[in-house]
Symmetry: C2
Subunit: 679 residues, 2 copies
């Protein structure tokens, strides 16, 4: 593994120098050798298959051809048999596992010459990965669609590259999940961690315990047939479905139907603002229930791993129950943590009985658990390293929480092997299996979930697949934009969902001016939105405000900030850059006048009135500063200090939105004062 | 019927005066009485059902609530039982027919007050129509989503309001058809005329004659299960599926598998450029085949009507067969037309045996056919009137061909009762059942079909539903834009498909400049594109050029033309109008410089180079003219005549695209010369 990686890195360096960075590949392959020519994709494009072949692989090739047709608009023939002079030859050596295994070989080689291409891999899993690479290589040229000549040897850095989707807090229908699995496969992720329930909703049909869905789902759950179909769907795309059955906390929706398992007196209806409750770990009935439940679920979810959650158990419900506290004392435990460790050991034995390996969040880590257990760290590399030192395998999720609305570059900079993990021995490092991004769904709906996951998730996918040397954020953003575009051909809606939502808010008509405002703001970060909720958080409330719609990261603001920085760094000599900056500032200055009536006319837009005014004023301030920068005369100090004080105020969120062009305008204003001394 | 209409018209006039034209309803209801207040749509919005109720109606209400949630972003409860204080009460008197009947009552009444709404109808069909009206009434206000207070009494003008979709020339998958059925239902159309095969492809699974799909479909057909599911899907939305089994012409794909039925010697593979062939009407085997085929199809398609095509039978194949010519002589027929009449009579008897009523295109009209036959006219109102005079019922499709790329206003102006039909007696007029728009698919793919059908089809739907007095194109365009927006909430893609297609053509990146060009051009009209094809038309060719993507009608060009006309008519005094005109002209003038490199870099865009240059030059010419108009000084005559000569040249299509801002720029240039004399 180590040797392979070193080998791979060498090639990446070579190839980056040779221009592979102009390729729109994401994740970047381990090794690329670029040639000079290209393979034209004519209408006669055809695929032949040699070596191992099965029906699932055939279907994968059909999907590849259909996707190639969508991307190009060329109706390629879907024939894969009896092709005499194939454009692309596919060769797998042997079958893949019937149930996709952690660490199963995903390597592939793709060789493209002017006359044809060959994709080979030990098994169909590698072929799936290589087909995605081929799709990303297709570009338009003056003479037609083409793929550049090159040789790619590729394999993942980490064997576990996943995304958690929480369907408990807001139900996400299967069609939305399916297109997201397509997205995972497109960026070579291999795990969907399905957070199947939480306090707000239970989403699985249980035949053994039907009150789970009857009382816990509000009618929104997946039938067993649907789950089986979805698991098969994901398997065909090389994605493992790892289910999470959260316990003993975060499971109010379980107790809705089975209050006798709760630590309090119940009932526990699923409703906003209900007090925390936890499963009672002191009763034998609890373990009987879990045993039967896991038995049933094991038949639905073939993956070897089962996640039992285990995080954030509120001590209050256990503290409030004298029997539980008596149990702790009677069994010589020190506290609730010991009780949870006892619970986890019991659960782990049940999982073991059903041939499942346990995963849990950091909190489950306890020396009495067997070393097979996998720890998923939401706390950070330190916690991950600690687990690895104790002999446990681990996954990093800290730094990959998509609901925190961070920019892609911030996720991208997080590495499972960084921080304390960098100090591990080679053997300990081998226990770090990879990571998972997490799409917690407090503020997520079927309408906006794609825009929360994508495209940022592709940057995390690259972190987990590509050699660690692949680090340049500028290259990442360029390729991220391209991958986002092609993800929409899969049916994902992270870009297309914006426009209709703006129209809904404005009541129709031209939404250009509203789009200008939407394009330069971002949702507040971290847990600011939740912290600002007055009263109990209502998971049934409409999510139709601008914050629910705008993308987590404003590309326009990022690009403007780069433009301003480079203009100032260059001593504001660049007249062309100044003109581009000016054009944007004028648009912003004039936008509020265009937008004002529209904002007043809609109850969903009224809260944006001050934000729109701020944008307009920022535009004016920036223009004033730019005038002085261009004249090479310092701006009046009075004006400047007034402006800077006012700008400071605009940094506070409005309607839970951050104005992202504040900082670059502030830089312009500041620079406009330094003029004389600088030159 | 006549009395009802007169009554309805009175109310429309009243209500138009009272401001109902500000409502975004399409088709406009027969009668609206507007109140002053509004009904707020709170999260507590609920529906109760009284009167007749069945599972299908319940599902319709669920779909209505889901759609209301999509439109507003509010997760309304889908409960319809046990609601104590409902916002909307629905009451149907009795069941609808098990198989939707021509002329079945579609009337409904919708009464909205500040405290609640009531929707009542004789049967669930009317409820379906009324729920669509309710959805169109929802608008956003400063205090929330709301529906205006009003009373609507509504029923259709014509009982047959359909759209033909041709899936023979290009296969259209069921999911695309389903969303189009949703679109038909949204604008109260009630027939999908399914043109199920043509020379280029046979799209039905036949168990009796499996070579039909095996040899005639290229693998692209609907299974019988899919067809049954689709028919049920349409029924639940109040849309009849009327199948068309085209014969004796346009049926090469039938003869691919069964060449013995053909008039020549075969074989007849489905391929581009194959010579015309027709079914041999002189052999008894032909009628045995049709009998068995219709028997099988009758079980799949429950509708009482079956379309047998019958149009455009090329005389050549019959002329070339001596046996057929001998048959004509031996039976005392004059010509091929008589032979087709004989064929139609035989087919009609077969249909009759299977309890089906025959529809055919104009050509089937022949005095020996029974008066039950319905004639669908692609030739015009004259042909329709002639049929009605002879006692046949008829449908108008002339004027409603969506593939001709006409503006909505042109379709809208066509009326089944106009032209010669206006001279019919009242009884004869009663035979005109309505009309159908036609989406012939020579240039249509699953990707662009929505943009060919919508939103123009909504204008045709209004023509067929609303009272004939509803005629104002300006009101139509305003409402059409709104209905187009809401159709996208159903999953239709007539607007959202443009952007990704532009990105495909440009290879990604910013497509703003390409969008400017795409926004002011239209596809060539009528059959100009087909006429320009060199060699045989290749139905397998990629449809990924700009012509395949741009909308049939440029809203921007239409709006610019109106702006220029009003500016010139007003004696070019309106400085604000001049500024708006100037802004557009500047954008166009500068666009080519932004776009040029992009055009050169893509084989799909290179053909647009002259078009882009023309737009730029038109922008410059318009600006020059505008300068003179604003100065109130005539432009130099030399310049003007040069410009006008050049403008004339730009009227010729480039890459099968028409530059739609040519005419208004020409008007500016012309007006700039008249200046001095005018004032």
């Amino acid at each position: 593994m180590r040797i392979l990686l070193a080998f791979a890195s060498l090639f990446v360096s070579l190839s980056l120098a040779a221009g592979s960075d102009t390729l729109n590949l994401m994740p970047m392959p381990a090794s690329i050798q670029a040639g000079g020519g290209q393979l034209s994709l004519e209408r006669s494009f055809s695929v032949a298959m040699s070596g191992y072949r099965d029906a699932a692989l055939d279907r994968a090739v059909q999907r590849f051809l259909a996707q190639l047709s969508r991307q190009t608009g060329i109706p390629f023939s879907q024939k894969t048999g009896g092709v005499s002079n194939p454009t692309l030859t596919i060769r797998a050596d042997h079958a893949r596992e019937k149930v996709q295994k952690l660490g199963e070989d995903e390597a592939y080689e793709l060789a493209v010459s002017g006359s044809g291409a060959t994709l080979s891999a030990p098994n169909p899993l590698g072929i799936l990965r290589g087909l995605q690479t081929f799709l990303q290589l297709v570009n338009i040229t003056p003479s037609g669609f083409a793929v550049p000549e090159l040789n790619i040897k590729d394999q993942p850095r980490f064997p576990w590259r996943g995304t958690l989707i929480d369907v408990g807090r807001h139900f996400i229908p299967l069609d939305v999940l399916k297109r997201n699995v397509d997205g995972l496969a497109a960026v070579k992720m291999n795990v969907l961690h399905w957070h199947l329930y939480d306090d707000q909703g239970f989403r699985i049909e249980s035949k053994r315990f039907p009150k789970l869905q009857q009382d816990g789902s509000g009618g929104q759950y997946y039938t067993q047939d649907e789950i089986r179909e979805f698991v098969a769907y994901a398997y065909e795309r090389g994605v493992r479905i790892v289910p999470e059955f959260e316990m003993p906390g975060h499971s109010r929706s379980v107790l809705a139907g089975y209050p006798e398992l709760g630590s309090g007196s119940g009932p526990y209806p699923v409703e906003p603002g209900a007090p925390d409750v936890a499963i009672d770990p002191t009763r034998e009935e609890t373990y009987k229930f879990i045993d039967k439940f896991i038995e049933e679920m094991s038949k639905l979810f073939p993956d070897e791993y089962v996640h039992i959650g285990g995080d954030e158990v509120n001590p209050e419900p256990w503290n409030a129950n004298p029997k539980i506290q008596e149990f702790i004392r009677a069994h010589g435990m020190k506290n609730n943590q010991d009780l949870q460790a006892y619970f986890n050991q019991r659960v782990q034995k049940i999982l073991d009985k059903h041939h499942k390996i346990m995963i849990g969040w950091d909190e489950v880590l306890h020396p009495e658990l067997p070393k097979t257990v996998v720890v998923q760290s939401w706390r950070g590399q330190e916690s991950l390293a600690a687990a690895a030192r104790q002999g446990y395998r681990g996954l990093l999720s800290f730094g990959y929480y998509l609901d925190l609305m961070w920019p892609a570059a911030r996720h991208y900079a997080g590495d499972p092997m960084s921080g304390d993990a960098a100090n591990l021995t080679s053997e300990e490092k081998g226990r770090i299996l990879g990571g998972e991004s997490c799409m917690w769904s407090e503020w997520v709906t079927p309408e906006n979930i794609d825009s929360r996951i994508w495209p940022r998730n592709a940057a995390i996918a690259e972190r987990l697949w590509s050699p660690p040397e692949v680090q340049d954020p500028a290259s990442m953003y360029r390729r991220l934009s391209s991958v986002s575009q092609s993800l929409e051909w899969l049916g994902l809606t992270q870009r297309s969902s914006l426009h209709p939502a703006l129209e809904r808010m404005s009541g129709g008509g031209d939404v250009k001016a509203l789009g200008v405002l939407a394009g330069v703001v971002e949702p507040v970060k971290d847990y600011v939105r939740m912290d600002g909720v007055k009263g109990p958080w209502d998971f049934r409330a409409p999510l139709n405000h601008l914050i629910d719609i705008v993308r987590p990261e404003s590309d326009q603001a990022r690009e403007f900030a780069e433009m301003v920085q480079s203009y100032i760094a260059g001593g504001h000599q660049d007249a062309r850059a100044a003109a581009e900056i000016r054009q944007r500032l004028i648009t912003w200055r004039d936008n509020d006048a265009r937008l004002h009536a529209e904002l007043e006319g809609s109850f969903l837009l009224q809260e944006l009135v001050p934000l729109s005014q701020n944008l307009s004023t920022l535009g004016s301030a920036g223009l004033f500063a730019l005038d002085y920068l261009e004249k090479a005369t310092p701006s009046p100090e009075n004006w400047r200090s007034q402006q800077l004080a006012w700008i400071e105020q605009t940094k506070a969120p409005t309607a839970n939105l951050l104005m992202m062009v504040t900082a670059p305008v502030q830089q312009l204003v500041e620079a406009s004062g330094r003029e004389r001394t600088q030159r």
